[in-house]
């Protein structure tokens, strides 16, 4: 449902006097960030954002302002994405890692950064595009948990409920995702010559 008509809609460039647009479109950058972290590729992410807005528009009479438009849009976006997948995609038995071990792995990334003198590595790289690239390298179950918690702002228990998996699995997947992302980011910095060639392992 990718719209070719996206290009050039005359007259659509105004500030928008429609109340729905005024209330919701300001959250589009946030929503795109969330969708981009959930979906594997940018085209799917943009379609997801558009579908979110269309569903929100159709359901606008049910919107309760006190809940906040941003949160409401995030919930719709999450539902569109997750309900579009087979449920067993998340519940499938997988070899889940030990959360404590994964956390220690993240500590090891820091210890290497200290030793190599690049503790500010995340400030030295172009973080947004690097994160996007690193996310593409994560397996979907890890990426989705990371996205729900770290971009979508869900608590562990809420993410577990959304995905139909135990909280312990959320923790292990989240911590592994963070550890892998940190390692990828350091590796990108190393490849770009921003940090020493020995940094971050291979």
């Amino acid at each position: 449902v990718n719209g070719d008509r996206a290009a050039g809609t005359p007259g659509a460039g105004g500030s928008g006097d429609d109340p729905f647009e005024r209330e919701t479109l300001r959250f589009l950058p946030d929503l795109l960030r969330f969708a981009t972290s959930l979906a594997r590729d940018p085209v799917e992410a943009e379609d997801l954002v558009q579908e979110t807005y269309l569903r929100a528009f159709r359901a606008r009479d049910t919107f309760k302002p006190e809940a906040g438009a941003r949160q409401w849009l995030f919930t719709i976006c999450r539902n569109v994405f997750l309900r579009g997948k087979e449920r067993d995609r998340w519940t499938v038995a997988s070899i889940d890692d030990d959360p404590a071990e994964e956390t220690l792995g993240a500590i090891a990334v820091h210890e290497a950064a200290q030793a190599g003198g690049y503790e500010d590595v995340y400030d030295r790289i172009d973080f947004g595009p690097a994160l996007r690239k690193a996310l593409e390298m994560l397996a979907e179950p890890f990426r989705v948990v990371f996205s729900l918690v770290d971009i979508g702002g869900l608590e562990y228990a809420e993410a577990a409920k959304e995905l139909g998996i135990p909280v312990g699995t959320v923790r292990s997947r989240l911590f592994r995702a963070r550890r892998e992302l940190q390692e990828h980011l350091v590796a990108f910095a190393r490849d770009a010559g921003i940090v020493p060639p020995t940094a971050g392992g291979a």
Partner: protein, 88 residues
């Protein structure tokens, strides 16, 4: 900064650096119970090494949360606006 949960008065073994290191993410995510939260807080008060680990981890999460989206926000906004007008 997250507000600390209610403390308790029960005596507990102080946490060492390994205990804290294994709970860094839970602590940053405010996912620990009151006892563990307070134990880590106490340890961090006196331990520079663990404080630095936490700062590095927190910095990563902070960067993640403000990272700019990869796509073209402007053109997507126009596309969504056009779709909404079609739908309306």
């Amino acid at each position: 900064m997250k507000s600390p949960p209610l403390g308790t008065t029960r005596e507990r073994r102080p946490m060492d650096c390994n205990d804290v290191a294994a709970r860094v993410w839970d602590w940053l995510d405010n996912e620990l119970g009151a006892d563990e939260w307070a134990d880590i807080e106490a340890h961090l008060h006196d331990c520079t090494g663990c404080t630095e680990h936490v700062a590095f981890a927190r910095h990563f999460l902070d960067r993640v949360r403000v990272a700019t989206p990869a796509g073209d926000v402007g053109s997507l906004r126009e596309r969504v606006r056009a779709a909404l007008r079609d739908a309306g």
